[in-house]
Symmetry: C2
Subunit: 197 residues, 2 copies
Amino acid sequence: MKKTQRTTIKRVPKRANYDIQTMYDIIDEALVCSVGFNDEHGVHVIPTAHWRIDNYLYIHGASKSRMIHRVLTQSACINITLIDGLVLARAAFHHSMNYRSLNIYGQGIEVAAEEKDRVLRVFVDKITPQRAGQIRMMNEKELKATTVVGFCIDEAVAKIRTGPPVDDKEDYELSVWAGVIPMSLQSGEPIVDTTKL
Amino acid sequence: MKKTQRTTIKRVPKRANYDIQTMYDIIDEALVCSVGFNDEHGVHVIPTAHWRIDNYLYIHGASKSRMIHRVLTQSACINITLIDGLVLARAAFHHSMNYRSLNIYGQGIEVAAEEKDRVLRVFVDKITPQRAGQIRMMNEKELKATTVVGFCIDEAVAKIRTGPPVDDKEDYELSVWAGVIPMSLQSGEPIVDTTKL
């Protein structure tokens, strides 16, 4: 992907990555993104679930939501961050994290009413494969109350760190544990809802 | 904590929480926050590690970093999100996540040179208890290259969802699994760095 002024990484530029498949993999693995936008009180960052179809990232929200209104009328910034590990070096200065971070810039486009059901099914199936065919999908009233917004992934940049700590030469002799503690978002034992009304 | 215009939750206001200890617990558990700020190209959201001392949240960065410069000269928004579970309802519309999200608003304050070492030791010890006493802490040159920024936690709001799915009455008869899949960030087996220089 071509760099723009907004997607040029200045701090540790060797970690920048413009490969579209790398970006898709980050989007597909992550459950939530952070949406940055401005309103009359300044900047806000709001987490929300997201999904992807082809070259679009989608979010959804209440049709009356401030965030939804704002991202449809101004350029927003969406960040997705996956934490892959704690990087423990021998010197404080070289401590770091292994991570995959993605920024997407652009104004949202509202998904047309007749497309909403199809696009939302992809969302449901991302969270739990084949679930859209098992549950009650949205009725007309619910669809009307829900706005789905797509962002074309055409101005974006990933920033990625991998691997062990990198210390200054003289610090390798220090007798302190150094290495990486891998981190990942894991699921626990499902808790069934036995409510009967 | 007193509400302001920026910290008044409009969507599902019953999930809003202004209890300071609840906020501290979210900050202390999370490893990274998302910093929202504006520059001449518009809004950006950048993830970074954070820590807390008393009523201040701290971040750090290269002294020449754009983000550090911006948050010291304008009001920023910092979001922290912990994903606690996938909420699988019987109807698509009632699917949700259990989460703890915190927004802090305000302009950053630069930590004075003579305070930096003390404040950074708290950061190191947050990631790995007692590690600050074992590693080489920052030398004068490294401290000079690092800016530490504090945000007073005096304009903030948490938004929290817990518990099982809540479906419409008529949907409880649908024969589909419903419940919560707990999620949490977990550490894996440490990978020692055996590099010898």
